[in-house]
Symmetry: C2
Subunit: 170 residues, 2 copies
DNA sequence: CACTTGTTTCAGAAAATTGTGAAGTTAAGG
DNA sequence: CCTTAACTTCACAATTTTCTGAAACAAGTG
């Protein structure tokens, strides 16, 4: 379908074509980094929306995907706390909104993965024997992940401080 | 020492079954986190070897995979600097060895991903217009990734210090 | 309570990924 | 050089993943 007639907007209208290219490109990078394809695209679409929120229909239209695909992507994004669902009052339509602290949440989640790794590795040390060369190599890896876990929290705290300061500053 | 009696503390033989279970389990976690399946398994196999190195044939045998699969996995692991190839002197066999600083390298690599993200996001800000709500949301994301990039280096430095200190201490 | 609108589930077609055997390439050793 | 051992590449079959349309489901509304 061709786009609606140009309503006379007051000022600079954004170049939807360039925005769409950005959405696809960023989504594709997220996908390469391990996120599901549709989840990446939906997330990127939300990121470039002015309100930081869209309805299912809006997402489906902009991304040219089926409602079913939207549903699946949202399920994932909710699970990993990147998006919240909210009912649009007075309608029967849901709105999906970016978490304010998406990146914070997303890294916290990554931290959980570190913990799982670490626990598996501890079992590895046992199986190998702590005194063996392989055992002590794995033990060092355990230490690395524990170190990382501790650093992570500090880092996210520093980000919050940084963000608050900058927000207050301008 | 010809004594055949084994004390608990003295048990020297590792339980290959338990080790193998650990290999598969850790590999599977790496895979979930985004690494190729065979690369994960080969990496885990190297991790539990006492010398930290194996030949192609050894890997193929332990993992029950074809030489072709080993080849593919090694190609990936070399590319991401987790493994180095070295020719076994006097033979025509290659040995694949874990980088001493695998995790360091691997996180440095992750840092490269951050930079790519950041660059894409900067283009996004342009497309959206820096003044728009969406534009400033993406701009904040740029800031987050820049922040992360800086933290990363500091963190890895602190790990090196920590490791050196602990190595000297014990 | 039937109707309408919006979301989710599910079976299956389509596409992408993966691992293999076999052929090909390289280089050591006689 | 010729043989042979080791590794790599390639085409293909098998598996897995992904996305869709259709149907089921849910929840406001008249």
């Amino acid at each position: 379908m061709t786009d609606t007639a140009e309503t006379v907007a007051d000022a600079r209208e954004r170049d939807e074509d360039a925005v769409s290219r950005f959405v696809e490109r960023f989504a594709s990078e997220l996908t390469e980094a391990g996120m599901q394809r549709m989840a990446s695209r939906v997330f990127a679409a939300l990121l470039v929306s002015d309100t930081g929120s869209l309805t299912s229909a809006e997402i489906a239209e902009r991304l040219r995907i089926s409602p079913a695909a939207v549903s699946g992507a949202i399920r994932y994004l909710s699970q990993v706390d990147m998006v919240v669902r909210e009912r649009e009052p007075g309608t029967r339509r849901d709105r999906y909104r970016l978490f304010d602290s998406v990146w914070y949440e997303s890294f916290t989640r990554r931290d959980q993965v570190l913990i799982r790794f670490r626990n598996t590795l501890v079992e590895g040390v046992e199986a190998l024997g702590p005194g063996t060369p392989a055992g002590s190599r794995v033990a060092e890896t355990v230490e690395f992940f524990e170190f990382l876990h501790e650093e992570m929290q500090g880092m996210l705290d520093r980000w919050e401080v940084y963000k608050a300061k900058r927000g207050a500053g301008s």
